[in-house]
Symmetry: C2
């Protein structure tokens, strides 16, 4: 975790990014015991939620990373035994990523940890406050 000034600026943006750095670092740390990273968990999440195999290009799009990164991320997940590469039935250029049983178990464990982290994060805030914050985040995350 590196990069942002702790003090010295009063930009909302800096406070925002710094808070996210902390939250992300804690999440990554907590996920550590499952052997997952946020990136790996994200891939498993999409495979579970979609309910069907996805091509690497599709996954890269959903995760917002470049295709070559997905190639290597799937390499690692395959090495972990959490996904498998399968030929695309129709298009021989494409490759499907399929989640394994172990992948589902690991995803469940990771999702549980993330839910705990989430609970901790919003602890002590009123519903109205969270609504406001959520509205802000949605706008930012959508490209505002």
């Amino acid at each position: 975790m590196c990069g942002l000034a702790k003090k010295g600026t009063n930009l909302f943006l800096i406070t925002f990014l710094r808070a996210a750095q902390r939250a992300e670092a804690r999440a990554e740390m907590a996920l550590g015991e499952t052997g997952l990273s946020l990136a790996k968990l994200g891939v498993l999440n999409h495979l579970v939620e979609s309910g069907e195999p996805l091509t690497l290009g599709e996954l890269a799009g959903r995760i917002s990373c470049v295709k070559s990164n997905m190639t290597q991320l799937i390499d690692r997940l395959e090495g972990d035994g959490l996904v498998a590469r399968v030929d695309h039935p129709a298009d021989r250029r494409s490759v499907h990523a399929v989640i394994t049983e172990e992948g589902r178990r690991r995803y469940a464990a990771g999702a549980k940890i993330m839910a705990e982290q989430d609970k901790e994060l919003i602890k002590g805030f009123k519903v109205a406050e969270l609504k406001q914050l959520h509205a802000f985040l949605e706008r930012v995350g959508d490209g505002g």
Copy 2:
């Protein structure tokens, strides 16, 4: 920018981290024209704000990164001509980072861009809303 699921979860944490990813990506992109990264800008910020040279260890602490990372970050900043290494006057184990004139100019340019990004980010929100959001972010960023 990679790692978080776009959809499929309803965790506040995910929405939060994903929004921050977007904001950070935009900030890095905008900073690009100055040749600075958020990490480099953070170092320059601390040197400017403190008003005096800082040791690499001190900078690493303020930026929340490991010391070896600061060594290499200062290597790059020195290569850019934005800071210089100077012997610590009292302790010969320590090294001071000093900002150069060019470093100050570059920092000013970067800070201006960040201010613009900040303005864009908070555009459309009321002061009271921002105060609440800020309170949340401060708590998260402090380690709550």
